[in-house]
């Protein structure tokens, strides 16, 4: 079934299976492997993408439900030459170890900081509670979110589709 959606700022017509999950469509049709699928049960947050400005676990969304929506994945945030301030913050604070969960954390952080640009550490920790880091980098992840908030406040915004 052909459906149209905007992904990382570009409109695509994609051929989705009726029962296909959004995470699978993004990976299969567009090669967006930054959408990490880990638990497939909406528990771990690895597959978090932003849909119409809201963070969603893309393993729980039918691709068909996302028709007409605007999706942003980690690939739409920044790139190697022009990292997003949240990505820079995660690097500076070492907010990861193996980094499998990192795209999900960063997308959750993006949605959170858009809504609450000046959080307390406790709010940042609570906002990250929908993501699981098997390496246990949590203290560094919370620091990364706080660092990112400071960077974004300084106007360190880069050109991006998010």
């Amino acid at each position: 079934m052909m459906i149209r959606m905007t992904v990382n700022g570009r409109a695509f017509d994609l051929d989705a299976k009726p029962h296909e999950r959004l995470c699978d469509l993004l990976r299969r049709a567009l090669g967006l492997h930054g959408v990490r699928v880990s638990c497939s049960e909406g528990e771990c947050g690895s597959c978090t993408v932003i849909m119409d400005g809201e963070p969603v676990t893309s393993c729980l969304v039918l691709a068909m439900q996302a028709e007409g929506r605007e999706i942003v994945t980690i690939e739409g945030l920044g790139n190697e030459d022009n990292l997003h301030p949240i990505q820079e913050a995660f690097i500076e604070e070492q907010g990861f170890q193996c980094a499998f969960c990192t795209p999900g954390f960063i997308m959750a952080a993006k949605a959170f900081l858009d809504e609450n640009p000046d959080p307390t550490e406790e709010e940042a920790a609570m906002a990250m509670s929908g993501n699981i880091c098997r390496c246990g980098a949590y203290p560094y992840i919370v620091k990364s979110v706080m660092n990112a908030a400071a960077r974004l406040k300084e106007g360190g915004s880069v050109s991006n589709t998010g």
Binding site: M1, K17, P18, H19, R21, S40, E41, G42, E43, G45, T48, M51, E54, P55, V56, T57, C59, L60, V61, L62, M64, Q65, E67, G68, A108, A111, F112, M126, A127, S129, G130, N131
Partner: protein, 292 residues
């Protein structure tokens, strides 16, 4: 075997109901899908036809109407959180929504889906019961409404017939002041309730005119603590002290019928009922005593 289904997208509620009537039991309404996706992938339910309600207009609003707030069945838990400041009765609902699952799932999961899934551990159901909520239902033969107490009939079962659809949940907003609270025991954030209690207290001219207490996770459906309610009903706000709250809460253990499972023992759940009721009553009473 590859699991798959046909996908149907109704434009209107009438069209959705017609699709369900036509395809029968193996057709399924798909709301947020956060429970259904897992149940389907794990083979717990068989779906030949998925009737996606996501693109329907008009079922996802939360509206303040005279005497009631109408929560569209497709409103998400995150919408409920954001509507907390709309009215005092919405505060407890918003606070409760915020305890549920994770942010990135609350943006998908719908209030109606949560009720139709009818888990005994659902956080919102005891609170909806304490708030005297009603369910607006539409079927092939028209509309009807039923109290939330009667809507929930058992573990994962509701009063809905095969092709009926839950349109909205209506929470009354009486002219008198009403405050509610929900308390639960859970292991941590991102967990479901081991045991929970919801209360609502209504006061007019300094007197409690209505008290409702409901327990969650201790029976297939929410359980009212009517003897506890009658302790408080009719009392002057200024006369209620800790002893009365203790007495009202004390009736909770007698009506709880919990099970022992991997998450908690029946004994623990029973003993926590009065504790949670007392805390929830203290919350609601504190807000009633405060300024408007």
């Amino acid at each position: 075997m590859i699991r798959q289904f046909d996908y149907l997208r109704p434009d209107t509620v009438d069209a959705a109901i017609a699709m369900k009537s036509r395809h029968g039991e193996r057709a399924c309404y798909w709301a947020g899908g956060t429970d259904l996706m897992l149940q389907w992938r794990q083979g717990e339910v068989t779906i030949d036809h998925c009737i996606d309600l996501t693109h329907l207009n008009g079922l996802d609003g939360i509206e303040a109407l005279p005497g009631e707030i109408r929560i569209g069945a497709m409103a998400t838990l995150d919408d409920l959180d954001r509507a907390a400041s709309m009215h005092p009765v919405m505060k407890a609902l918003g606070d409760t929504a915020r305890l549920m699952c994770t942010k990135q799932t609350r943006t998908l999961a719908t209030v109606g889906g949560n009720m139709c899934n009818a888990s005994p551990g659902a956080d919102l159901s005891p609170l909806f019961v304490a708030l005297e909520s009603r369910c607006l239902i539409q079927g092939p033969n028209g509309r009807r409404d039923v109290s939330m107490e009667d809507f929930l009939t058992g573990v994962n079962t509701t009063d809905l017939t095969a092709d009926e659809l839950l349109r909205a949940i209506v929470v009354p907003t009486p002219p008198a002041r009403r405050e509610a609270s929900y308390r639960r025991v859970a292991r941590t954030v991102v967990d479901i309730a081991l045991v929970s209690a919801a209360v609502s207290l209504t006061a007019d001219a300094g007197t409690i005119t209505d008290a409702r207490i409901a327990l969650g996770s201790v029976a297939p459906v929410p359980v009212r603590v009517q003897e506890g309610e009658s302790v408080l009903a009719g009392m002057a706000l200024g006369d209620i002290d800790a002893k009365h709250l203790e007495e009202a809460a004390g009736h909770a253990a007698a009506v709880a019928r919990p099970i022992t499972d991997v998450r908690a023992g029946a004994g623990y759940r029973t003993r926590m009922c009065p504790v949670l009721v007392r805390r929830a009553l203290a919350d609601a009473l504190g807000r009633l005593g405060g300024d408007e």
